[in-house]
Symmetry: C2
């Protein structure tokens, strides 16, 4: 019997996160205060984040200890298995070995709790009693609700109205974990009430939900705001994915030639790849591929520029690949990849040629997801299907070249709560989208006057 899952014993779980800022060839440029054009200071962020997380956000220490209390919660589902896709390999008739790091085994069904648990902990030790956040499709809201119940914090989630109504199961998950989940725009904030006064039928947007959550944090007692991607400390917390993967490959005496993950804000990608990019910086021959949708081609076609992290233009300006903060991508099913910007860390690594960006059309990703479901048995999230599509392409290339490569991708989440896309695919109604050039240029006009980062 071939070994299918490489398990790391709990006692082997990594005890430190890896901070790639210690090794980057080009250091990050600072976020800017949009009003002054000056770098943001830690104090500027205090109304919405606790100081311990702000320090992590700005740290350049290579290794940061994972607190014991965080490890105790992470082992609810970690270490996650590294699985070998034998059936997929046989189906593809490839000499390549394909592995996937299975983050879908968390109680929330995705990698998101890795940072939610850490953030809940740091807020708790900073004396915070309550966290506010926004959620689009619901993955992040679920992860933070889970983390808050594990640490006994209150949690309020502003969920974009259209998702709140279309995805009742997601808000029920949050409520089962004791969180308060409201449809955004809500009557609970000044901003929400203002929006509703202007348009009582407003279906909401991520920008509106962020504004509500930030206002809540800034104006409520003992409350801070929490974000599930983009920021440096989020990427830091996710590196446990790749650090575990490295230990697991050591167990079987293998090392990947190709490392693949999908990118929206960058969190599951950073998690799997940063420890490998460290090796690459130090001379290791490893190819790292970031996969995004053609409908939202941030890193394959967008410019590297200073832009707001949110559509509401409330955050500092971040140096990153962007399609413009007003960009509204077509409603592809991979909701987690419909983000106009990209983690500044990931952006910098792409500029420095350490990461190879790639975009796929929607139909191809579902075709890949169906092959995976029918060979390996796992129905993946639409976001994950982007990584699978690239893994299949690389495995087919290996077959054509006759090379026995080792490929690993991040299975960032299962698709059991997002099956509408499979329905559309199976009934022949799924369509492809590629962003037209004119539309992108038009969206980018909004940031043409912003300060320019050094490329």
């Amino acid at each position: 019997m071939e070994t299918k899952k490489i398990f790391l014993p709990e006692k082997e779980i990594p005890r430190q996160w890896y901070n790639i800022q210690a090794d980057m060839p080009t250091p990050l440029q600072p976020p800017l205060n949009p009003a002054t054009g000056k770098p943001v200071s830690p104090e500027d962020l205090l109304p919405i984040f606790p100081m311990n997380l702000i320090e992590q956000e700005m740290s350049t220490e290579r290794w940061i200890d994972i607190p014991e209390e965080v490890l105790e919660k992470l082992i609810t589902y970690r270490p996650t298995p590294l699985q070998r896709a034998y059936a997929l390999e046989r189906y593809l008739k490839t000499p390549a070995k394909i592995y996937y790091k299975n983050e879908s085994v968390s109680p929330a069904g995705s990698h998101k709790p890795n940072t939610a648990i850490a953030q809940a902990y740091y807020n708790k030790v900073a004396g915070v009693k309550r966290l506010s956040t926004e959620t689009g499709a619901g993955q992040w809201g679920c992860a933070l609700s889970l983390a808050c119940t594990l640490f006994g914090l209150e949690c309020k989630v502003y969920m974009v109205k259209v998702s709140y109504e279309q995805k009742p199961y997601r808000q029920l998950m949050m409520k089962a974990w004791g969180a308060e989940c409201v449809s955004s725009p809500s009557r609970d904030t000044n901003f929400g009430r203002k929006v509703l006064a202007e348009d009582p039928d407003c279906s909401g947007s991520l920008g509106i939900a962020i504004s509500e959550a930030v206002e809540d944090a800034a104006t409520s007692e003992n409350t801070k705001y929490s974000l599930g991607s983009v920021l440096n400390h989020v990427m830091l917390h996710q590196t446990i994915i790749g650090l575990e993967t490295q230990k697991q490959f050591e167990i079987v005496g293998d090392y990947p030639d190709v490392v693949i993950a999908c990118v929206g804000g960058g969190s599951n990608f950073s998690g799997l790849s940063f420890p490998y990019i460290r090796d690459k910086i130090h001379g290791k021959d490893v190819q790292v591929i970031a996969v995004e949708p053609t409908a939202c081609p941030t890193v394959t076609r967008g410019p590297f520029a200073y832009d707001y992290g949110d559509t509401a233009a409330k955050t500092p300006l971040l140096p990153m690949f962007t399609l413009g903060h007003n960009f509204l991508p077509k409603p592809i099913h991979a909701g987690g990849l419909r983000y106009h910007g990209m983690s500044p860390l990931v952006s910098r690594l792409i500029l420095d040629n350490l990461v190879q960006p790639r975009a796929y059309n929607q139909l191809q990703t579902y075709k890949a997801g169906m092959i995976f479901a029918q060979t390996e048995g796992l129905i993946c999230a639409p976001e994950t299907n982007h990584a699978i599509a690239a893994a299949i392409d690389e495995a087919e290339k290996a077959r054509e070249e006759g090379v026995a490569k080792t490929i690993v991708f991040c299975l960032s989440g299962h698709g059991l709560l997002d099956l509408a896309g499979y329905d559309a695919y199976l009934s022949g109604k799924l369509t492809d989208y590629s962003l037209p050039e004119e539309e992108m240029q038009k969206s980018l006009e909004a940031i043409s006057s912003f300060p320019k980062p050094v490329v």
Copy 2:
């Protein structure tokens, strides 16, 4: 850091199933042909089952080898973790140690694939190309669809119309795994067409769906029928749950005082408990509790009698606890526990005082499920919440008695696709049901003239 999950390495996966028929103090009485009143012969079952599974159904061999090809598929998700519920223990302030065997990590989200994979394999080696089955809430249909895609078999699922329409995600899962899933009554069988001719708006029933699936198997080329519970070979395949659990307890040097699982048809209960009941038969002091809903109190209040396994009265007569095959339980959310009968094996073990039956009202099970979700972080299936309720009761009893017992229960499935019950609970709309005595007696009239088994 305390060890939370006890992992069994893949190479330690049990290589044999345990057949409790070899050790039962009282042997099973045979199923009867309702027309003749005579015991059913293997040949009687051949139109719908392959001979290798019929042999397993009737075997009294203690250990039956698990084929290598079955193990290769099982390790997609097995061995499953045995997890310690530290947070729940602390919440309950109990000296008891509470463990749960987490079967929710399978790609279908429940323990059902354990037998689906075995059945698909045995059918495949018998030359069968296609399996038919019925499904109510959808768990079993999903598991068999998964198993069939892993072995390259065709699969047709007749899904009760009301569930087909209310649970679109379930049928989408089956379709993503390549199965054909139709709403029952369908136009694809004589029986379905007959039902629709009489009542075009018929919302379907499990009985109708079974009749359609059996007709399909009996009349289609290279097709057999597959069942997800009740039968002896199903219980056999599930014993891998308890055999793994025993090995995992050995790793930590512990042994349970109390073993708990919910019972509908008996499959997850048998899986966890049979290896422990073997120990009990051989003198070990272990308490085994089977938990059912008060709305469908088969083993706590029903008589032990010969009855049909299905509401359509198509199967042989089985010696079991039953509420009468026409019994229609109230629509509690634990769909998998709404079954009129009980596995003959489990029934016999209850009669012989090796298993202690217990019933809970719906509200109490959801209260328990909410406590579990907010302490351990896992949102469980409504069926599983019955086992959790009993585990909590036993842990509280241990606290009152000041005894440090070890409790283990089967976490048979997650609840991410069945959140409607949580919604009802959270909004105060969930109600309790207990079956009125008159209603039970009325339902039992239908079987009053059947042959009587020896008690």
